[in-house]
Amino acid sequence: MLRPRIIPCLLIHNGGLVKTKRFSEAKYVGDPINAVRIFNEKEADELMILDIDATVKGKEPNFDLIAKLASECRMPLCYGGGITNVKQVQKLINTGVEKVAISSAAIARPTLVAEIANAVGRQSVTVVLDVLKRQRLMSSTYEVCTHNSQQTHKAEIFSLIDEFQKLGAGEIVINSVDRDGMMQGYDLELATQVKSLVKVPVTFLGGAGSLGDLSDLVSLVGTVGAAAGSLFVFKGKYKAVLITYPDRHSKNMIFQYSSNS
């Protein structure tokens, strides 16, 4: 039976690894290559590495760094940041990245998703949607944003998801901006709505503060990707920097929750 994927998400800023809170307050947490090596030893299910500088600075992906990370990485790797065309994607796949994540370029020009899927296969195309929750009087709505949440978009999140999966996205990642770095749990309301809609694999990011939060997610929505940043780079209430990852036994416990749902 397919298992939920427990995915550390690492952010690259100025060549180092950082962890943010609500997409700001970037705190340095270490060297990317070293982190990949540690996650190798801990046998992580998958790794997501996002360059949070590339798009806002209008830069291409840092191919040299990504090639080094990919060659070190003994688990599936998804890279995102600064990707705007098919040529870059082919280059990334050839350096050993399994999946590429696109966000702002897909929202600006949705057919890019189809172009990439045709070139490298849809299994390698991940679309990331950064979402801001807007609390209204009676209900809440979600706003899609890009460029590290500096730009917001009118398009409605659920119609965007539908459009991207029709165009050829092989995975959708929902990244809750307002929960980023808060370590108080995933947005389960949003996760439930999204999961009922998607036909491709989906991964949730933003808010996980404990393994219990991962279990809560998969027991509610089933076999999905549960991604986290802070949970895997901070330890204890003072948030000392220490890379951790659940062992096989803990992962089996989380898996049991997903298979009961």
């Binding site: 039976m1 397919l2 298992r3 939920p4 994927r5 190798n40 046998e43 299910d45 998958e46 990919a70 060659s71 070190e72 990485c73 003994r74 688990m75 599936p76 796949i93 050839n94 350096t95 050993g96 399994e98 999946k99 045709n118 070139a119 490298v120 296969g121 849809r122 299994q123 390698s124 092989g170 995975e171 998607v198 036909k199 491709v200 694999p201 989906v202 076999t223 990707g225």
Partner: protein, 205 residues
């Protein structure tokens, strides 16, 4: 020498890294001269079937591979789309496969019993071992787990070729062997302990 076939498609370096960790000599093969010392071959592959076939056909490697695999019976392991390329044909494309592994490649969509399952099949899944093989540790406490990332699957013509299956709404052939030709749908180069064991066992065949 284990030679990883480098025709511009797939993660050659990941295999080289794993064999280096295992202490087995492995190098990439970019041209047919590189294949001269091959005792084992690995055919990686990602993306569209026709794209991968066209890349191999244009690589200048095919004729020499044909000789090594068909005439000299050198063991070859196809991974993911590399496995699918060993088949006779694929529903994903129009180009013929290599035809070294009897069977065809079909879409999961329409063949799975459960249409509600997300596609592609992405993530860690278990293998059900049908034929015991050195590829898998004999005293393992739980079924082997491997990373999958695909929307098409190989269907063996001869059920006796099937070493292991995986369930994703239906059972499909995940590891197969026909003489010296081996195929694996999942990614041993990205499957930690299980994958390292598998590749080491292949390299020691």
């Amino acid at each position: 020498m284990i030679r990883i076939i480098d025709y511009g498609v797939g993660n050659v370096q990941a295999f080289l890294n794993l064999f280096e960790r295992s202490g087995l000599p492995a190098k990439r093969a970019r041209n047919s001269d590189d294949l001269a010392d091959a005792t084992h071959l690995i055919l990686p592959g990602v993306g569209h079937f026709d794209y991968a076939m066209r890349s191999l056909n244009n690589s200048g490697l095919r004729e020499r591979l044909e000789d090594l695999v068909v005439m000299q019976k050198v063991p070859i392991l196809g991974i993911c789309v590399g496995m699918q390329m060993l088949a006779d044909s694929s529903e994903e494309g129009v180009l013929p496969g290599l035809g070294w592994l009897p069977g065809c490649v079909q879409a999961i969509a329409g063949n799975s019993m459960d249409d509600s399952l997300p596609l592609p099949h992405m993530g860690w899944n278990e293998l059900q071992i049908r034929t015991h093989h050195a590829f898998f540790p004999s005293a393992a406490p739980e079924p082997p787990q491997f990373y999958f990332l695909h929307s098409f699957y190989f269907r063996a013509k001869n059920q006796s070729d099937v070493i292991a299956t995986t369930n994703y709404g239906f059972d499909f052939d995940a590891v197969v062997c026909h003489g010296n030709v081996f195929g694996m749908q999942c990614h041993p180069e990205k499957s930690h302990f299980w994958g390292e064991h598998f590749l080491r066992a292949f390299g020691e065949l």
